[in-house]
Symmetry: D2
Subunit: 289 residues, 4 copies
Amino acid sequence: MSEKKIIAAIGGDRRLVEAVRRFARDNTVSCYGWDNCPEICGSIKRCSTLEETVKNADIVILGLPCSPDGKVLAAPLCDSSIRISDLTAVIPKDTVICGGMLPTEITENFCKCIDYYKDELLQTGNAVPTAEGAIMIAMQETPFTIDGSHCAVLGSGRIAKALVPRLKALNAEVTVAARKKSDRAYWETQGIKVCGFEKAKDILPYTDILFNTVPALVVGKTELDIFNNKGIIIDLASRPGGVDFEYGKKMGKRIIWALSLPGKVAPVTAGRIIYNTVVTLLNEKGVMV
Amino acid sequence: MSEKKIIAAIGGDRRLVEAVRRFARDNTVSCYGWDNCPEICGSIKRCSTLEETVKNADIVILGLPCSPDGKVLAAPLCDSSIRISDLTAVIPKDTVICGGMLPTEITENFCKCIDYYKDELLQTGNAVPTAEGAIMIAMQETPFTIDGSHCAVLGSGRIAKALVPRLKALNAEVTVAARKKSDRAYWETQGIKVCGFEKAKDILPYTDILFNTVPALVVGKTELDIFNNKGIIIDLASRPGGVDFEYGKKMGKRIIWALSLPGKVAPVTAGRIIYNTVVTLLNEKGVMV
Amino acid sequence: MSEKKIIAAIGGDRRLVEAVRRFARDNTVSCYGWDNCPEICGSIKRCSTLEETVKNADIVILGLPCSPDGKVLAAPLCDSSIRISDLTAVIPKDTVICGGMLPTEITENFCKCIDYYKDELLQTGNAVPTAEGAIMIAMQETPFTIDGSHCAVLGSGRIAKALVPRLKALNAEVTVAARKKSDRAYWETQGIKVCGFEKAKDILPYTDILFNTVPALVVGKTELDIFNNKGIIIDLASRPGGVDFEYGKKMGKRIIWALSLPGKVAPVTAGRIIYNTVVTLLNEKGVMV
Amino acid sequence: MSEKKIIAAIGGDRRLVEAVRRFARDNTVSCYGWDNCPEICGSIKRCSTLEETVKNADIVILGLPCSPDGKVLAAPLCDSSIRISDLTAVIPKDTVICGGMLPTEITENFCKCIDYYKDELLQTGNAVPTAEGAIMIAMQETPFTIDGSHCAVLGSGRIAKALVPRLKALNAEVTVAARKKSDRAYWETQGIKVCGFEKAKDILPYTDILFNTVPALVVGKTELDIFNNKGIIIDLASRPGGVDFEYGKKMGKRIIWALSLPGKVAPVTAGRIIYNTVVTLLNEKGVMV
């Protein structure tokens, strides 16, 4: 049912490269800003100007996060900087624009914007590379095995649901601290020990590895004071994070704030997830690729 | 923090007996309608009249379902029938009444009613004995092992979340059919194959065991026509069920409608779940037991 | 590489029927003694005499156990009895004879005998239906779920290796009692609690379900005296079993001796295992089927 | 039953420190050669001469490997070198000597030698940190997740038995290549795909991560020629390893020879395993600690 589209990929990191390679199987793809990416497959055309890249494009695909400052594209593979005002100057207003965390400079200038970052497919899909990245860090940063260690996971969302069964399968002793009783009931059906947040303090002195997934200050001074000195805290929560880092540092606790794990530990997988998400979102809007 | 309460247990089945035994550890408990239940522990007082049973009671606990017809209590262990009008006649209006699926004859007559059936703790907790019961039936009713069999699970709710990981752990090839893309994304993070309902037809001819958890007609004539003749359908959905039973029977398909599994396959566990739920609900209302 | 063979199947139960159906895909198959087996597929020829059945046969396949008394074939699907002396009278001495637990009346009369019962493929393969059968019995016979129950497994062989991970996956608390320290070390790498046999006594009073896999008297008077009165013992060991049944019965303990589970709970799977084993054994002897 | 012993620990790495800390709970312990190990707990006495260290010692504990060259102890935490001839000069001949891979210079000089390296407890116990280390390397060195990747494991011994279920639990597609049919039958009971070594070639072109556990040249030129160019080979086999490294390098294949993982990724766990093994071996010889 899909028909060949003309797609322009601009900026982004290795994840975008991986996503776009998949589009290139069945579509005509040009790219810009991938200077330091030697291994592009033959069918993607490297362009030297933005004009050439977007010429006749049905869809423009940008990276994630698209542009942290709203002015210049995040483009770590590009030798020069790509300004959003240059994009708006050359791309027709009704072109479909796909990107992650699109800034208002883009959403206000184009009428067919798709922000793939917010989609559940991406968020849920990313839970797996995040969980694997968290496990990798735990293995790297502790002198003991996950097998037999006491792990605590704060929170009960997507990341916890990917992380907890993996820790259990590696034979850790896992306890989940969850606020809602329905979440606690769920974990018990999976054979996982649970406690409320107020009871987390009982387990912190004996916890070897504490994974936080809650983006709110849940590991504050009280929790840090009692946390096992030989343990490690791996904070997986996005900004502002869930740990009082400064106080923890002062107290000599080992804390790692592990952000953006999918792109760091598994860019190919993360790129595939972006691809799947964008295809689904395009199809939902009637654009078949 | 809890203080000794006077509790009256009336009617119900073995699950209620098990739940009430746990209350009897720290409370004063009387029972009525447990004639055919020889093994009650010493501290529960058997009464021969309703009046005696409920005298001074803080809490009256009834079974699940409390009374299918709204007139007589479900009391399979009782030699005579217990009428709701007899209860309302002898129990003070402000007594706490706990029961499952309380009929209006009760909720209209008492001002402190707690229906534990609707609570998430009970619903989620029951998913485990339901899943085990479904697996037991599959083992009993098929001449092959679950190991290596092709299983399909329709739906993505509590029961599916308890059933699917158990089937996978028994080395079945499991596919979940889920309507929502967020549910499908979730299952994929758990290493489970998924499809939409519209695609379920592709797998039905090769499915050995089909578990339905959706309480709506999802296995109709079309699905039954193509379903594997050597396979079996186990419907776990509450009334009206999810299978066109009549047509399926006519077509010679093997269909089992497995209702109320917790009470049938694991009444002790189901009683413990009722106990935990009732304690939590009482505490939430400020009644400490 | 395989070439069409002429195969005669005589006696046996449903497992043999299932095994032979698979041979019938690529070979010419006759059968005798399957009177009460309506569903044979078209290509298997039913014969009314032994002579007709074995005529020109390259291979004769018999059931498991072939003949408990050494005189008459085990043939539960047959209306009459089939005597071994009748077989030896009509089958040429150099015909390949495959059967399970072949009696000397056969091994002494034929020079190309293959006893598939002794083969590791069959023994190991059967561990799965045995483990599933044991789990089914535990589900049927206890009023609680396997989830959360305290299970003990005596022994560390094939059946234990299939049973223990399944119990763990169903969220039981499993302890394995193993005699050899290397076995105990193995189980610990799998996240399973272990103890020596002499320490098993410490756990018996708290064990809900005791699975024995050791064919020697390991559950004697001492063990039965202390075993949990609400628990159940499922003995999976072949004769003479591992439990002092008489004493256990006297003490009111619940004991189930579950023999020959593969044929009972999963004859189709058990038949597939026989087929795979016989094909491998034939190939090892240079007979390609 | 154990009585306090006088124990001297000499040389070794962090694993030995961890092992000895556990001995120090109930015994009198001196150490030598731990200069760069600041965190020894108070009860272990640091000595400045060998004489002082071994004075009155019942047991001398050495590291693993004790001494690769047979002349000088492996002592990475020591600023100077410790010669075996110095040990033999000051330790009475009938002192119990425990070490890993004891050289003949020691076994010929002392009559009560215990080589803990060869023991099954240590070998089997180490399979877990080896498996976790292998998984950590796979996560670090590949741009994709283990989830969904195609993994092949060559061999069927202790390491494979620890590694394979962990990979499966992380939702990899795992195939085990095993030589013996009994091993293949075992893996099938665990829901794992298997093949013989001769068939491994069929899967190599599609394998993302190849783990070798066989200490013999099983990944030679033929295998390397067809191995997936985007894949990685992690060789866990001890010397001489199982891969033709030179040819693989020439062919541009990514190969990691991961030796001695327990000490590298989990020295605390590895130390605990050494402790458990030494205690068991001492007890078996009648020395209670």
